[in-house]
Amino acid sequence: MSGLKIQKIDSVLLEQFRFRNIADLLSINTPVLFKSYGPGQLSTVAFRGTSASHTAVLWNGLNINLPTLGQTDFSTIPMAGFDQLSVQFGSSASIVGTDAVGGSILLGSSKPQPGLQVMLGRQQESFRNNQTQATVKYGTRLNKNWDFSGKTAAYDGNMNNRYRHPERNGEAISPSSTFQKGLVQDLFFTNNKHELSAHFWLTDNTLTNNPENPAGRQMTRIQSSRAMLRYQVEGWSLRTSWIRDVIDYAVGDYSKIDHAVTDRYGVRGERTFEWKAGKSGSTIQMQTGGEFTHYKTQVENYERPVISENRGDLFILTRWQTSRRLLVSVNLRQAFVTGYRPPFTPSLGAEYRLIQNRPYTVRLRGSLARSYRVPTLNERYWKDLGNPNIKPENGLNKELGAEAGYVLNRIHSFTGNFSIYHNKIDQWIYWNPTNNFRAENLQLVVSRGLEMQLGWKANRENVQFGSTVNYALTNTSQEKIFDAYATDIVGKQLPHIPLHTGNVTLFMQYKNLRLTNQIQVISKRYTTADHSQSAPGYCLDHLIVETTLPWRRYGASLQGRVNNISNTFYQSINGNPMPGRSFAISLLLTAKTTR
């Protein structure tokens, strides 16, 4: 969709964060805010001032948010699970569907190169934490027409979190341990017309809070199995998928386990057309298709033991390159859910190349988009508290932006990216405390803000250096008076969302040695809706030293990292102090066949 801001994470960053999770990478390199209870513990997103369930997380185009909770715990998604990562800012419901209200996070698999490549890596961290990964990529010609390639990867993470100082500023760091395993399998069969690919991603994440307390410990295990088959031929694209999410929760002696299983069976078909339209260079591209997903969920605390429903989507996405400068897109989508009527979600976007073919370029963009969020299964079916009559949320996102690039000379180049947005979300679902926490469509939330991203790169023969700066101003508030006491909260910044966030990355590279300094700033956050309590802002500083030692077909990448150099006391969620200074060292060995 044109007119939307998309930030693609480059391979250098993906490599640099290879042993960490998405939240670590994005919170340091994008304006997206993540809230974490601690290392290996629940980590949720607040994209442009929205809630954790207003961000769609897509794996090869498939929404992988847990359907019961309607969100993703980013501590369970390590970087080792995928090859590509990009962030799509703002509502893109017309393309993505539900949840894409504040933004979307897109994960993808890439087709490996021909040949054989083997990678083995290990990271050792403070607090007796470690991560291990093994990846094999392969590609070969099968016969005259067909190529085959694939990737098999396994990862294993142990977060024991044995803090040397279990208290910070007199407050206990909540004890926890997390064990994580995953397996990724991608297979691609291609010839010049057809591409058939299969993708599998199995994850298993066990978080234990208070592991040393036999009566009070809490175990949360999330296992996800994701499988997908894709086929593309001459403008046709077909996809079938299956996801099973299993959540187990137990306390104390684990004699009673809350077991929740949700299956999603999906099929999607899409056809792309392209026409030349009159003048030279003017083209119209249209993608049209539909999606169908069958949900089946078994959750003990739901009103019925087995609940199933069907969801469908029909969409038409058009891109009209009217001239070399102007690109306009009009997208239409209608979703269908058993017993529901999600809103019709059209969107309009445009991009205009104001200045091009000069040392500097300027591109303007704008978009107007409707969005929606289908209530989660918990919001509808939870015994007593869920509300079967709850309506989908619906939003309207407006934004304008500009992107500029400037090549000063053969050494220095600069980039800039600026956006302003206004996102209004009506029927915002709220677990109403005055109503014994029943889910209700009570609120109207307006989020408005600006985002600024500046980059600088300098390239000399053996030396490179550069910097990126992100700043976001996020003003998000509840605007509807729904009871007598709502006047105490109306118009006030939503709790846990800072008004200002920013980060700065500075790097310097000499030959194969790279030094990176990362700074994160989060301003004060209110912890209650009426602003009667707050948590102070903080600033963190991290340092990374990396080197790569290539030798013939082999390579070794060594990374050393200091997190929170200044040992700053901070809390991402109030009442949960984060650990102080910590260290990590990692080694990645690679071997590949010559081509």
Partner: protein, 362 residues
């Protein structure tokens, strides 16, 4: 006179004068910001561990929302479950959502400065505190719940305020909660979701259980009335009990509508009036009213509620006779304490902390 003798004389005279002057003073009033007024127990939002104790003087309608932080510079870090004063010491019950982190914080009652803290394993899920004289306090504790969220037998922790330690744990029925002191007895009732259907009687001289009185539903002791009788709520029954013979003398049915539940009982300082909230799930909402019952009534007059709304806490100020009623709009914003006269007219409304559930008058 040597220098030394002179000095001794001066000191002696000074001392005599000082003693005489001090004898001249009548029993000095305690000094401190919190000597007289109303303490509001704000439970807070459980997982945020942000409960507070608010304080207001009776003449004002503005409260200090978190006096522990104001005085001590750090928060109590938990949900607030209770407050009581024994002698010169105040005991705050702090229930943290992290297991093993609950505590009783002991403060100077007049200044609110922290003096000691008693934590696990002595204190686990503390629910209510009462003073037994000036040097001892009882704290009812649920203990750690079973893995399937059922209740084990609870206990009353006996705190010796001289040593500031738990000197004994007295085992009770499941889910011990409210306590009523009568002469040398303490009646311990149970949380209504606990299935603990016996009222535990503790002898305060021996700190031992002297009796266990069975009920058909979880008993909740309300108070001793003007005639020296104990009132107990069990389900929708209001029961008058002889506190010496443990015999039931009368039972008043609050309502025959089993969809309703009664709670937040408070006895007025005249020891003849009982206020409580009666609520029910009406479709989507928990609705109800607050009623007033006189101990001589044979039934609750359900047609004339004291207030046509529900509250999260109720108490009557023994000094002024005003009824303090806690309002919790949500767990993410400050609540209010409404003050009513005994005829049901509203005096004013005071903004307090999150989820006001209890009041302590001094």
């Amino acid at each position: 006179m040597t220098m030394k003798q002179q000095l001794t004389r001066i000191l002696t005279v000074t001392l005599i004068l000082a003693v005489a002057w001090s004898c001249n003073q009548s029993d000095p009033a305690p000094k401190g910001t919190y000597v007289q007024g109303v303490f509001v127990i704000n439970e807070g939002n459980f997982t945020q561990n942000n409960g507070t104790i608010s304080f207001l003087t009776r003449e004002k309608n503005i409260a200090d929302s978190d006096i522990f932080s104001i005085v001590n510079g750090n928060a109590l870090k938990g949900g607030m479950q209770g407050y009581a004063i024994a002698g010169d010491q105040g005991l705050i019950l702090v229930d943290n959502s992290n297991p093993g982190s609950d505590k009783v914080e002991i403060v100077n009652a007049n200044m609110f400065t922290t003096e000691a803290s008693i934590g696990a394993p002595d204190i686990e899920n503390p629910r209510e505190v009462i003073a037994i004289g000036s040097s001892k306090a009882y704290v009812s504790n649920w203990g750690t719940l079973n893995s399937n969220n059922t209740f084990p037998a609870g206990y009353v922790a006996v705190i010796d305020l001289a040593t500031k330690k738990v000197v004994k744990k007295i085992t009770t029925d499941k889910g011990p909660e409210n306590m009523v002191l009568y002469n040398d007895k303490v009646f311990v009732g149970n949380f209504d979701g606990s299935e603990g259907k016996s009222l535990t009687v503790i002898n305060t001289a021996t700190d031992a259980v002297s009796r266990s009185v069975p009920f058909s539903a979880t008993p909740n002791p309300i108070g001793i009335d003007a005639n020296g009788k104990l009132w107990v709520q069990a389900g929708l029954d209001l029961i008058r009990l002889n506190p010496d013979t443990y015999e039931t003398e009368s039972t008043v049915k609050i309502s025959t509508d089993m969809s309703k539940s009664a709670g937040n009982f408070a006895m007025g300082p005249d020891l003849k009036t009982i206020y409580f909230v009666l609520s029910s799930w009406n479709g989507n909402t928990n609705r109800g009213e607050t009623y007033k019952f006189t101990i001589t009534d044979t039934a609750v007059n359900l047609t004339a509620p004291f207030a046509k709304r529900i509250f999260t806490g109720l108490a009557v100020d023994p000094r002024q006779g005003l009824i303090y009623a806690g309002v919790t709009p949500s767990y993410t914003q400050s609540g209010y304490a409404l003050r009513y006269r005994s005829d049901g007219t509203l005096v004013d409304s005071v903004k307090v902390g999150i989820a006001p559930t209890g009041f302590y008058f001094r």
